[in-house]
Structures are given as C-alpha cells and as structure tokens.
C-alpha cells in the first residue's frame, strides 16, 4: 500500500503544517522573522509540485477519472464509528488542490512584499501556512469528520487573519463575527454528519458513495433532510443568504488574506462540499432547487449592494458573494461542471482583483474609498492594466475566463428551464443575466473611478498598512516614501499578478473541456439528473441556434452594455452619475447601508440573546442561588440557637463532620444490630 505513487499526496497538507510550526518559531525572534515568508512560500509551492506529481494517478489507462483512498493514520475510532486521517483523491480533489496550492503560492509571494515591515510578519505566514494545511485537508478529506476538521480549521485561520490587526476593534469584531456566523452553519453541518452516520452507518466517502449508488431514487425522509443540514454549513462558509453577513466585514484582514481566503479558496469550500457530496444532494427532490434559489437570490442581493459601495475591498467582497451565488446556482441545476469551472476561473480573477486593490491600497497608505481617488493609471500603470484584465473577466467580457464559466452556468440553467418547461429555472436564468449586467456595471464603475479621469487622490490614514503597525528596523525608510507619492509596487508583488492575469484571461478558454472531464470523473458527476453541461440532452434551442451559443451572444452583449454604461456614468460624465444617485436617493441609501441587515441582526438576534443572558444570570443569582441559601439558612438558625458562643471559619466544617460521623455510626449500628 505504501509503495503507491499517489501516496505522496499525503504529504500535501503536512508540508504547510510543518511550515506553520516553523513560522510560529520565527515569531519569537526578530532575527528569524524574515525567514517566515520563504519557508511558507516553499512549503506551499512544494505542495503544488506534489499535487502535479499526484495528478496523473487519478486517471486510469483510458483517461477516465478514478479515486484513491490514501490512509495516513487512525484519528477517531470508537464503537464502530470510524473517522481516520485519510485522503480521498479524485479529479475533483486535484482541481481544488491546484487552485488552493497554486493561488496560495502566488498570494504568498505577493504577501512577502506586501507584508514587509509589519511586526506581525511571521505571525501572518504562520497563519497562512496553517490555512493551507486546513484547506488542503478540507479538499482531500476522505470522510465527513475530517472534512469538518478542515472546515473549522479554515474558519480558525480566517478568524486569526481577519483579526490580524488586532489593535483595531473593528478587526476584532469582524473576526469574531466571521467565526460565530460560521459556527451557526457548522452546527447544521455537524448535525448533517450525525444524520448521515445515523442513516448510512458510515461517514467515509468511498463507502458512502457506494451505498448511495445503489439507493432507490425515493429516499426516506431523514435521508432527505441530510442535504438541507449540510447546506446550512455550505451557506455559512460560502457566505450565502442569510449567513453572508460576515464576509464584507472580513475585509478588515490584510489584503492578501482577502484574496486567498475570502475570495479564491476558503469561501468556495461550500461549493466544493456540495459538489463532493452531490450524490447525497440528489436524494432529495427539493435540495438542489433550494440551492439554486438561494444562490440566485444571493447573487442578485449582493450585486445590488455592490452598486452603491465606495470601499474597493467591500465592492469586491459583495462581488465575491454574488459570484458564489452563481456557483450555487450552477450546483442547483445539477451542473457541477459549470459550478466548479466558475470556482476555478473566479479564483484567478478575484485573487487578481483583490491583490491589485491591495497594490492601490499599499501605495495610497490604506486609502480604499472610491471618492478619494481618480486617474491613478498615470501613477500605477501596471496595476491599472492588471486590474483591467481582472475586471474584464469578472464582467464576463467575451473570451475571458469569467465569460466561459458564467456562460456555462446560465446556459445550463436556461436549458433546464426550457427543456423541462420549468418556469422556475427560466426565471433564475433571467435573473442571472440581470446580475451579469449589474456585475459588469459595478466592476467597471470601480475601475473607471480609480484609474480613469483626472488624477486626484488623498492618502489614507495608515502609515504602513495596518493601523498603528509601525514597521520596525530596516524597512521603515521605505515606508516613509508612501507618505509622499503613490507609486507602482515592486516586481516581487507584480510578478505573481501577471500569472493570475494570464489565468483570468485564458483559463476559461483553455480549461473548459478539461474541467468537464475532471468533474465527470469524480463524485460530483450528476447521476440522477443527467442534464449536465456535456450530457446528451442538448436539444434546447434559442433563436434557432444551440442554446450555449445563443447564450454566449446574449451575455457578450450584456457585458459590453454594462461596461459601456459604467464608462458613461463613471468616466465620461461623472456628473450624470451623481444626478441619478440624487434622484434615487432613498434606494441608494438603502443599498449603501446594505439593506440594514447588520442593524436588523443586531436588534433581532444579538441584543435579545444577550438580554436573555442577563436574565439567566439574574435568575441564577437570585432564584437558584437564593433558594439554596435559604435552605442553607435553616440549619444555621438551629446552629446559632444551640451554640451562640461558637465562632470561626471552621464552624461549618466541624458541624458537617460531626453530623456526618454521627450519621455513619448510627446507620452502621442500626444495620449491624
């Protein structure tokens, strides 16, 4: 067993884990601190290389996907319940590993420059390494409990990294919020695991899929509940309605973290989970439609908010929520290929967008407000065009990566609507197209505002790139420059962006056949609802042409119109934008305040719960403890009456001991004689 070539994949999570320990040691000494970045980059890159080495082994001789289970060590075994540290390797795992370790390496390289001079430098890379450990464990897990370990592990790293600048109360609050909201979803996930074990007596994927393959199509009610419980976990981690509230706040973290964790990898874990457990989701006739509806609703909801935000990172955060909504729509229409494809392309272009936003922020000393910058292309030409490519991909401009994947989701949705004569899916497809328009608009609203028009800018408040994080030692003089003039970032930071930009432009064209093969060879292959992208049922037509082709034309037009609208309002005639905003002031205010959801949550959930907490505390002190004290008071009265002269701390003890002994003696005597 140990001589199998694929077993080298077992090392993938543990190299970053080792790196986390080493970086942790680096935290303790100022001299060692600089070592953290190279160690972390090397570990993630090595994991990437191992992924590539393991990659060929998940295909059989005919190129069809197969799975391997690679066992590492016994984790939990008790009373028939088994959850081991073992890994499930199939093409879906490989896609995820390539994304996680590939994008992870690039972001780590960028962060080596971005974080330079921060006093938490080593701590940052320790947390990133730990994150890669948890994330790779998540996507490689062979059982639900190990998946849960990775799941909560990435949540922890997210907590640590959102709260990285822990002097800022807002960062600490955001970190806490992320963890707790995720915990709510995780409760659903945990109950889903319990119910799965309850119903199938196993939590291991290989056994589970075997059982599910032979299940009758009419599943029992408890089995049908499982996907809904798991779904809760997915909605929490992937920031879908109603558990999306943590992600916008998560932007308090350093920007590379936003790119890696809150755009490219961790937030897609929910999509991965549903894709991985697709056979379970197919068991309920209501589960997948629910996923589709929630996904579309989230996409629309978040896109509208993104229209009226001014903070660059928050716009991208809402955009991420919206794009994740697309992925859930893809899953919901049983088009796992399209969903994972969008996950892949989104990882490239959204990481690129966040990192370029980080470059802007880096050179403007933390400035992120659209209203305080304009015409930056002259100051930062490379960043300008890198972000442009990312925006094109996000907007779904023809032949960019986002174009292919988003198109596939929408076409499959529409196809399901038309072939199945289902109004629901037709409506979802139209809503998806509308979101595509909004996306093109808000994306380029941002880009035109930042880079086009007259050059104006205000520097931010931060001296480094975290409040009060004075760089120490050598790098402080470099930082001083930031106060004077925005400038292009160095090539250590731009080089990884070039790779991401290439991905954002080309990944769609290059990968759209490959991804289909990968998904069809994995557990994400739809078994029961074979209407997937490349299934046989390709009969629907629109305007007399193949539906996929027709959809390409439609979404191209929508993207171009959206970009053109943004160009008019936010580049050529900014006054017009202000006039429109003034006319719709009420709506703009609601959107700018994110539909007041945070306020609602606070007053409906958080405050009442805390009030109940106070009530419980008062009840505990007054009623429960009061009763006890009253009961305790009665014998004390006797005691006082009998022995008024006795005082001292040991009195109670003495009485107790004496009574006790007396009772013992009495009982023994009674029994014995």
């Amino acid at each position: 067993m140990d001589d199998r070539a694929i077993d080298i994949a077992r090392l993938i999570p543990w190299l970053p884990a080792l790196s986390a320990v080493v970086c942790g040691v680096c935290c303790t000494s100022r001299k060692l601190r600089v070592l953290a970045a190279p160690v972390c980059i090397a570990a993630i890159a090595a994991a990437f290389v191992l992924t590539l080495k393991a990659y060929p082994h998940v295909f059989d001789d005919h190129g069809h996907g197969v799975f391997h289970v690679s066992w590492l060590f016994t984790w939990i075994r008790v009373g028939g319940f088994t959850a081991d540290m073992s890994y499930y390797l199939d093409p879906l795992t490989m896609v995820m590993l390539i994304v996680v370790t590939g994008v992870g390496t690039l972001v780590a390289i960028y962060a080596a420059g971005y974080m330079a001079g921060d006093r938490g430098y080593a701590r940052f890379f320790a947390a990133v390494s730990l994150f890669i450990f948890a994330m790779t464990t998540l996507v490689m897990a062979d059982n639900l409990v190990l998946l849960y370990l990775g799941w909560e592990g990435v949540g922890l790293c997210s907590y640590l990294l959102i709260g990285f600048y822990y002097d800022k109360p807002s960062a600490v609050a955001a970190a806490k919020k992320a963890f707790i909201v995720n915990r709510i979803g995780d409760l659903g996930f945990a109950l889903g695991i319990f119910l799965t074990y309850h119903q199938f007596a196993t939590v291991q994927f290989s056994e589970l899929f075997q059982i599910l393959a032979t299940q009758p199509s009419e599943a029992s009610t408890p089995v049908q509940i499982i996907p809904f419980l798991l779904m809760l976990g997915a909605f929490g981690k992937s920031a879908q309605l109603p558990l999306y509230v943590w992600l916008p706040d998560a932007m308090e973290g350093p920007t590379p973290v936003s790119a890696l964790i809150h755009a490219a990898t961790m937030v897609t874990a929910g999509v991965y989970m549903i894709a991985r457990l697709f056979p379970l989701f197919e068991l309920s006739p209501y589960a997948l439609p629910t996923v589709a509806i929630v996904g579309t609703a989230t996409a629309l909801f978040a896109a509208t908010i993104a229209m009226c935000q001014y903070d660059i990172k928050r716009i991208y955060a809402y955009s991420t929520i919206s794009q994740l909504g697309y992925m859930f729509l893809g899953l919901g229409v049983a088009s796992t290929t399209a969903a994972v494809f969008h996950l892949l392309t989104h990882a490239f272009f959204k990481a690129l967008l966040f990192l370029t936003a980080g470059s802007v922020m880096h050179s403007l000393a933390g400035q992120l407000d659209l209203r305080h910058m304009s015409g930056m292309r002259r100051k930062m030409p490379v960043t300008c065009w890198l972000m442009f490519f990312g925006c094109l991909a996000l907007a779904g401009f023809p032949f960019t990566a986002g174009f292919y994947s988003k198109d596939m989701i929408l076409a499959d949705t529409l196809q399901k609507g038309l072939t199945g004569h289902s109004t629901l899916y037709t409506v979802l497809a139209v809503a998806g197209l509308f979101v595509a328009f909004l996306t093109a608009f808000y994306t380029f609203r941002l880009w035109f505002r930042v880079f086009m028009g007259p050059t104006k800018y205000e520097m931010g408040q931060e001296h480094g790139h975290g409040a009060d994080h004075h760089p120490d030692g050598v790098s402080s003089d470099i930082k001083v420059e930031h106060h004077h003039e925005p400038h292009e970032v160095n090539w250590l930071m731009n080089a990884p962006l070039l790779v991401l930009a290439a991905g954002a432009l080309l990944a769609g064209y290059l990968a759209h056949h490959w991804i289909g093969d990968m998904i069809q060879g994995s557990s994400a292959r739809p078994l029961r609802q074979a209407i997937g992208a490349h299934g046989a049922a390709h009969h629907a037509t629109l305007f007399g042409m193949d539906l996929h082709l027709a959809m390409m034309y439609i979404s191209s037009v929508i993207a171009v119109v959206g970009i053109a609208t943004a160009a008019y309002f936010h580049w050529l005639n900014r006054g017009a934008a202000d006039r429109v905003a003034a006319k719709w002031a009420g709506l703009v205010r609601v959107l700018a305040n994110k539909y007041y959801v945070d306020e609602l949550n606070d007053s409906v959930i958080v405050r009442p719960l805390r009030f109940i907490g106070y009530l419980c505390f008062v009840f505990d002190r007054l009623i429960i403890d009061g009763l006890v004290m009253t009961v305790g008071f009665v014998p004390r009265m006797f005691g006082l009456a009998l022995r008024p002269a006795q005082r001292g701390a040991l009195q109670g003890y003495g009485i107790g001991m004496a009574t006790g002994t007396a009772v013992v003696v009495l009982l023994v005597l009674m029994v014995y004689f």
Partner: protein, 567 residues
C-alpha cells in the same frame, strides 16, 4: 518478570500522603520544590502503571490488562475484617486515565503556584498533596467505604485552600462550597449504605466491594433504584455540577487560588461524573434508563443556560467557571446516552476539560498575579504586551470551544453523536438542542478573547501598592513594566498544550482502551434497554421483563453500535 504491579496503586496514594505530611518537617524555603518533586514522583509511578497496563500479556499485543474491561492490579489491605471493610485498590481504563490526569496536573499546579503563594507556604503545599492523595484514592478505590472516605476527604484540603489562600470572599466561598457538597454527599452515602444493606440482606454477607454491590443492586425494584439514583445524584450532581445545583461553583472557582481552581475544575468536578459512571450506571440501570431523559434534559438546559450566563460575565475567571458547568453538561449528556460512543465521549470529555479548563485557569492566574484584577473591563489587547501568554490563551480557548484537531472537539463531537444515536434513550432532539451550545460557546469564548487578548491595549493599574511584582518600577514607559511569561510559566502551560494537541489528533489509543471498561459499565443499562419493548413501556413492564423473563437477561445487548460493526 516477577515484578508485582499490584503494590503500585497503594503507593500512588501513599506517596502524596506521606510526602504531604513530611513537608511539615522541612524548612519553608525548600517546601515548594519538595512538593513539586513529590508530585513528579507520583506522576512517574502513575506513568509506570499506565505502561504496565498497556503492556501485552503473554506477548499477544491484542491482550492487555485493559482489553478485558475487568479491574486489574487489585490489592487489598484488610481493615475491619468482620465487617467486610478493607482498603481495596484496583484500576480499569477509566480510572487509569483519570489518575493520569490527576498526577499530570499536579506538578503543573505546583509549578504554577511558586510565585503566587508567598505566605503559609507549608500549609498550602501540604494541603495540595493531601488533596492529590485523596483524589487518586477516589479513582483507585474499589471499596465503597474507602471510596467515600477519599471522596469526602477531598473537601477538607480544598476548604482550607479556598478559605486561607482565596481572594476577598474566600471565607464565604469555602463555607458554601463545603456545606453544599458535603450535604449532597451525605445523602449519597446514605444511598450506597442502603445498597450495602440490600446486598447483605440478599446474600447474608456484608460487603462493600463496589462491583459486588453493583451486581446485587441490579436486583432492586425500580422504586428502590429510583431512590438510590436520587441519593447518588444528590452528591454527584452537585459535584459535577449539574444544573440547577451548580451555584456553589462560580463562587468557589472564582475565589479559590489559581492552584485550587485548576484542581477544582481539572479533577474535582470529575469526581462527580466519575461517581455517576461508577455507581449510577451499573447499580441502578432501570432507574437510569427511565430517568436518563430527565437527567439529560437538565444537562442540556445547563449547557445553554450557563453558556448564556458566561456571555454576560465581567470577571474573566467567573466566565471560565460558568463555562465549566456548560461543558460538564456535554459530559453528562454523553454519559446518559448509554451507548459506547456517548459514554466513551463522556470519559474523554472529563480528561479534555481537565486539560483545557485547567490551563485556562492557569492562564488567568498568570494575569491575576501581574495585575491583581480579573475584570475584563480593566484589561485589553494583552496580545501586544504578552504575546506568548496570548498564544496559550487563544490556544486553550480554542481547545475549550471544541476546535477539531484539538482535544475538546473529539469529546464534544462524540458526546453529541452518542446522544444523537441513542434513539432508545435520548435521540435527535437532545443533540440538536445541545448543539446550540457549540455556537454559544464560540460566542462567549471569543467575547472573552476579543476583550482580553485582542483589541486596543489596556493595562490595568494594579492597586496593590505594597508589593510591586515587577522589577522595573517606572510606569511612564507605557507597557515596559509588563513582562511576558517566564520560563517557569511556559513550562507550566506547554505540557497541557501538547496534551491537548496529542489527544486531538490521536484520541484512539485513549478511546479504544476505554471501550471494554465502558461496555462493562453500560451493559446493565443496555440489558434493560434490550428488554424494553419498542415504544413507551410502562415502568412495570420494564421491571417484569427484566426479572421475570430470564431469556432477556441472558440475551445479547442490542447495541446499535455493535450491530453496525459489520459494515
């Protein structure tokens, strides 16, 4: 191969006992060091015992002392022969692990106390060692009277530790603690004496051997069992503490000196759960089955109720104290699931809670030593000035909150799974309700971490003018006078952190060693369950089936976990 491990158990009790008494002969300066040495020696002996227990018998690696579930290393020191009284010692996997927990925590408690205890040093360490002897005695006793003596004797050292070395309300706390737990355990003693009398009336022979009493007690009627169970709960549920008899705990924990809190949370509370496991389950199986849902309901209410209380605490030590009540609720819930998963989880939970909450109390103690306050409003952002301490604090908080990969998760997850799977006893509703405790735990722990560890730096100005504990007295260098953990403090916390990580990643050696012993304890209750018809059986039916129908009693327990093994 002629070693005799049987003598090791009496030794385990005698070393701290004699060691503690011997401290009084020593000069004050060497007392802490000697106390530490004694606990290390005890730890070494217990590790030897553990190694022997895990050693294959007759060269067959599958057969160890642990694999049968029977008591091993039994020894007797006769006491009152004619009355069946003796000091009898014996171990099974459950007591072995709890002994290890005790002996492992003690040296760390000693280490953690070196700088905190400056006056009446001799008394402090003597009481701690006597306490250790009593706790070990409770776990290794196989004789009822011996058990009870040790169980009750733990109160005495703690009474003095709280009363002499505690903080401002120490006298009240000590008295409440003592009277509350003592009253409860008197009732418990009456209950077990009744069982002993029952046994004597049945067999004609007086015996106080716990195993014999358990066998005999199973023949009691439901009514008798119910009274015995109530008596057991009176003492043990107070000790756990189970909602609503928990109110002594926040006071005692908060007022106790750090070492006392660590022992209280780490081991003392487990005497309650251990007692329930050792007595209630095997002695009163019918009553246990009948009242398991009731007890589990109290456990679940306790989990949620105290978790909410934690969230509104202002005193960080009180918060951790209340969190113990919430945590132990999971333990009791798992135990009364009455299946292998749940009960194993309960035992593992005892160990986990001992490590992580004990460590949290140590961490809080280190803060208290520096700032002489535990009020969260007066401190904040300590990660900036004490990064090493912050690391440990966050680490143990995460262990406490049940992060997978650390120990807390395994116990909590399995306890919930056990409750979820126990269709015949508890079922889904209990697990779901208790599951919300996971969310609330995250809320209150992160609330505490967010206030104390993170956020803007806020250093409490300590009011203690007379003994500034910091060498550099100047205050205007902002945080210059706050020192991070020293080597001794790091050495105190590191073993606990390693333990949390090891048990989180490799819980199976522990869990699989527990299985035979757990199965043995659960077997009577499982038999009752196996005999219970589906649906709601009346109490008479249950009794009838158990005692009239002999085939049921000898049939195999319908363990759903065992049935599933074939997969």
């Amino acid at each position: 191969m002629m070693y005799s491990p049987d003598q090791l158990l009496p030794l385990l009790v005698l070393i701290p006992l004699v060691g503690g008494l011997a401290l009084s002969l020593l000069p004050n300066q060497v007392v802490p060091a000697m106390a530490f040495v004694w606990t290390v020696v005890t730890l070494a002996v217990s590790v030897v015992v553990a190694c022997l227990a895990y050693q294959p018998i007759d060269g067959n690696p599958a057969v160890t002392f642990l694999s049968s579930g029977d008591l091993f290393f039994e020894s007797f020191i006769p006491w009152v022969d004619g009355f069946g009284l003796s000091f009898s010692f014996g171990l099974d996997a459950i007591s072995l692990w709890l002994v290890l927990l005790t002996t492992a925590l003690m040296p760390l408690v000693m280490l953690g106390s070196f700088s905190a205890i400056k006056h009446r040093v001799k008394e402090y360490y003597t009481w701690l060692l006597l306490l250790e002897a009593a706790m070990i005695g409770t776990f290794v006793a196989t004789d009822l009277i011996f058990f009870y003596i040790c169980f009750e004797f733990t109160l005495v050292p703690l009474f003095f530790l709280i009363g002499i070395f505690g903080s401002t309300q120490r006298l009240k706390a000590a008295k409440v603690f003592f009277l509350y737990t003592f009253t409860g355990s008197m009732l418990t003693f009456a209950g077990v004496l009744y069982v002993a009398w029952f046994n004597a009336s049945q067999t004609g022979l007086w015996s106080f051997e716990i195993a014999q009493l358990a066998r005999a007690a199973q023949a009691m009627s439901l009514e008798q069992q119910t009274w015995v169970l109530l008596a057991l709960l009176a003492g043990f549920a107070v000790k756990v503490p189970l909602f609503p008899v928990h109110t002594w705990l926040p006071l005692a924990h908060t007022e106790a000196p750090t070492g006392g809190s660590v022992i209280l949370a780490g081991v003392l509370l487990k005497l309650g759960t251990y007692g329930l496991l050792r007595f209630a389950l095997p002695m009163t199986p019918i009553a246990t089955v009948v009242y398991a849902p009731t007890i589990a309901t109290f456990a679940v209410v306790g989990i949620l109720y105290t978790a909410l209380i934690c969230w509104v605490q202002k005193d960080v030590k009180k918060l951790i104290a209340y969190s113990s009540v919430s945590h132990l609720g999971f333990c009791v819930l798992g135990m009364f699931a009455l299946n292998t998963i749940g009960v194993s989880a309960a035992v593992m939970y005892m160990i986990n809670h001992g490590l992580s909450t004990g460590a949290l109390f140590l961490c809080i103690g280190m803060i208290y030593e520096r700032f002489h306050t535990r009020e969260m409003a007066r401190m904040g952002g300590l990660a900036r000035v004490m990064p090493i301490w912050a690391f440990f604090m966050v680490f143990f908080s995460l262990a406490s909150v049940g992060l997978p990969g650390l120990n807390g998760f395994v116990g909590e997850f399995l306890a919930l799974l056990g409750a979820f799977m126990a269709r015949d006893v508890l079922g889904v509703g209990y697990a779901v309700a208790a599951g919300f405790g996971m969310i609330l735990a995250a809320i209150y722990i992160l609330y505490m971490v967010g206030k104390v560890v993170f956020g803007p730096v806020l250093i409490p100005e300590h009011d203690d003018q007379h003994q500034p504990p910091y060498p550099s007295g100047h205050t205007h260098g902002k945080h210059a006078h706050v020192r991070d953990l020293n080597a001794r403090e790091i050495m105190t916390l590191t073993p606990l952190a390693v333990g949390c990580l090891l048990l989180g990643l490799f819980p199976t050696p522990l869990l699989s060693s527990l299985k035979p012993a757990v199965d043995k304890l659960v077997e009577p209750a499982r038999l009752v369950l196996a005999g219970r018809p589906h649906g709601e059986a009346t109490i008479d039916e249950v009794t009838t089936i158990i005692f009239i129908d002999p085939t049921v009693q000898h049939g195999h327990p319908q363990d759903p976990d065992a049935a599933r093994h074939g997969h």
